[in-house]
């Protein structure tokens, strides 16, 4: 550990929490994050449903590393570092496909889809010390899944994925339970967009419900125009129409857990879905009640949950289900990737409704996400003043006993406390 200095002021006695804005602009901090966070934590790679058949693969960048996410000839899900063992070239340049082999175009080294070495052209030119069987594609130190969500870890000493996820598994389960067969799938169509802002601002934004009325007033208007009731709560403590919680899940993970007011494909009808959708949505809910019982069905259908798996995976179970991950490309920029997730057995009409609901809010053409992007970019532009306006204020709700509200900043402090521990090398 590097023993970097702390970037937070966490005064629980006075109820003040401040963040040093240098954490959001510094290249040196970013280098520290590469060592202390992205090389130590479990980082989301992909979902098993993206690899339907043996031999299927996707190439992508995970924590800045080009990898091949693949299902080998025997059906085993793999993660290969996309780099030739000979001189380092990418061995796969296609975005996705199905193959038995990965061929390096440079000198023709060939790998099987399980990563093992298949062929070195002219291998008689090597001495006996060259053992080509040791030249399979490298893999991250660890590669494990929870309910078909696959993660890699570059640290051989890391705890298991399940131990790392800890209490967050409950919130992943609430997503997976939406499928009658417990099989969710990533839907075709990837949203990839850059945001000129520090990656940690997206962590905050993904769960910050304080910003909804101001950043997303046009979305609230759209919902109201579409017949979705948006009455302000009578409780003056609440910023949103309904009660919502912010929950610390340990290990830097956290979630919001809100009473739904915005409609859910599984299965809370709103007028945007149309009258025709009512019977099918009632049937979806009834199936859930039969399968998991009325209490859990109500929990799944009538709450929204924006979950952050530390450091850079967000599962938004709101207007639709999104998987969102993002990675720094410099201190002032991130690359965001988002997918939609749905039950494999969903009908054509339910799938269309899910995708339409997704686009009412999320994505680069959605009615809300572009304004989030704008807000984060405005923050980053303003942070150029950080040497003369040093501290971000994050104390909201600090004096509150017991339950923490989604529109306060308890969950954001949870993130920053954990981040600060990992960066300073303090015992987490």
């Amino acid at each position: 550990m590097t023993g970097a200095r702390s970037f937070v002021v966490d005064d629980r006695e006075k109820g003040i929490f401040l963040l040093d804005r240098e954490a959001l602009v510094s290249d040196e901090v970013l280098r520290g994050e590469m060592r202390n966070i992205f090389a130590k934590c479990w980082i989301y790679v992909g979902h098993g449903s993206e690899l339907k058949k043996n031999g299927d693969f996707h190439t992508r960048k995970v924590a800045g590393r080009p990898v091949i996410f693949a299902r080998d000839g025997k059906g085993q899900v793999r993660c290969h570092l996309n780099t030739c063992r000979h001189r380092g070239a990418l061995v796969c340049t296609e975005r996705k496909g199905n193959t038995r082999r990965f061929n390096c175009v440079y000198h023709g080294w060939i790998y099987n889809n399980d990563g093992s070495m298949a062929r070195v052209p002219g291998d008689e030119a090597y001495t006996a010390a060259f053992d080509k069987t040791t030249f399979g594609l490298k893999a991250p130190a660890k590669f494990e899944s929870y309910r078909d969500f696959w993660f890699m870890n570059l640290d051989p000493d890391a705890v298991s994925l399940v131990d790392y996820l800890g209490a967050a598994t409950e919130y992943i389960d609430l997503v997976v339970d939406q499928s009658p067969s417990n099989n969710m799938e990533v839907i075709s169509g990837t949203q990839e967009y850059d945001v000129n802002a520090n990656w940690k601002l997206m962590v905050e934004n993904s769960v910050d419900d304080y910003h909804l009325p101001s950043t997303h007033s046009t979305w609230l208007n759209f919902m109201a125009n579409s017949g979705v009731k948006m009455e302000p709560s009578k409780d003056p403590a609440l910023v949103l129409p309904t009660h919502g919680l912010a929950i610390d899940l340990g290990n830097g993970h956290f979630t919001t857990d809100n009473v739904n007011f915005r409609g859910r494909p599984v299965a809370a009808w709103i007028p945007i879905y149309g009258e025709d959708a009512k019977p099918e949505m009632a049937a979806i809910r009834e199936e859930l009640v039969q399968r998991v019982g009325p209490e859990r069905a109500k929990r799944i259908c009538d709450t929204n949950r924006n979950l952050v798996i530390f450091p850079n995976l967000v599962i938004n179970d709101g207007s639709s289900v999104t998987i969102r991950t993002f990675y720094p490309d410099g201190a002032n920029k991130m690359q965001v990737t988002a997918w939609a997730l749905g039950p494999v057995e969903e009908s054509e009409s339910a799938r269309a409704r899910r995708l339409d609901a997704f686009l009412t809010f999320y994505g680069p053409g959605g009615f809300a996400t572009p304004d989030d992007v704008e807000a984060l970019e405005l923050v980053q532009q303003g942070l150029a003043n950080y040497t003369d306006d040093r501290w971000s204020e994050m104390s909201r709700g600090m004096g509150r006993e017991g339950e923490q509200l989604n529109s306060d900043e308890h969950h954001l402090r949870t993130f920053w406390r954990h981040w600060d521990k990992m960066m300073t090398g303090a015992q987490a």
Binding site: R95, E192, D194, N225, L355, P364, V373
Partner: protein
């Protein structure tokens, strides 16, 4: 009007110049933020699609698009982007779109299928330049009042949105 009814009537006469003039007019309305006038060019059953960069062929009911608007959603989109609280477009982007390679790709009754290439430059203060490149695919209904847009499909050439960021305006 559906395809079955279209099949029953003779194909309308149409020239590339007519389609080109329409595209140039539409581009001017969009670049000048005259969105109410633009909306008047839409048919009652108009749709506006931007498929995802990595699955241009997928249908909008089974593929996650960037934009998949029916007529009512387009109306709501105009309300949103004209609102000063649409932060991604306040102050409004300045855009300049160049349209070229206009082709009529088919005629079915009163429906004219046409395509064009475009470059759309978008500028915001203090921000990077955004350059959207791709092709437009239209289904235009030819009426006595001129063309009405039945379907407007934007295919982006880039492998991913990447530097282009949001599509918070009418592309």
């Amino acid at each position: 009007m559906n395809a079955g009814m279209s099949a029953g009537i003779a194909n309308v006469p149409v020239t590339r110049a007519e389609v080109e003039d329409f595209f140039f007019h539409e581009a001017a309305l969009l670049d000048e933020w005259r969105l109410k006038e633009w909306e008047a060019l839409l048919a009652d059953d108009a749709t506006y699609f931007i498929p995802p960069n990595d699955d241009l062929e997928g249908g909008h009911r089974g593929t996650l698009y960037i934009i998949s608007d029916d007529r009512e959603r387009i109306r709501q989109r105009i309300i949103r982007v004209m609102d000063p609280n649409c932060h991604a477009e306040f102050p409004r982007s300045r855009t300049c779109r160049l349209i070229s390679n206009v082709r009529i790709t088919g005629v079915e009754g009163d429906i004219v299928h046409a395509a064009a290439n475009f470059v759309c430059y978008r500028y915001r203060r203090y921000q990077r330049e955004f350059v959207y490149v791709g092709s437009y695919q239209y289904a235009l209904r030819k009426t006595a009042e001129g063309f009405r847009i039945k379907e407007r499909r934007v295919l982006l050439a880039a492998h991913e949105l990447g530097q282009l960021g949001s599509v918070s305006f009418i592309l």
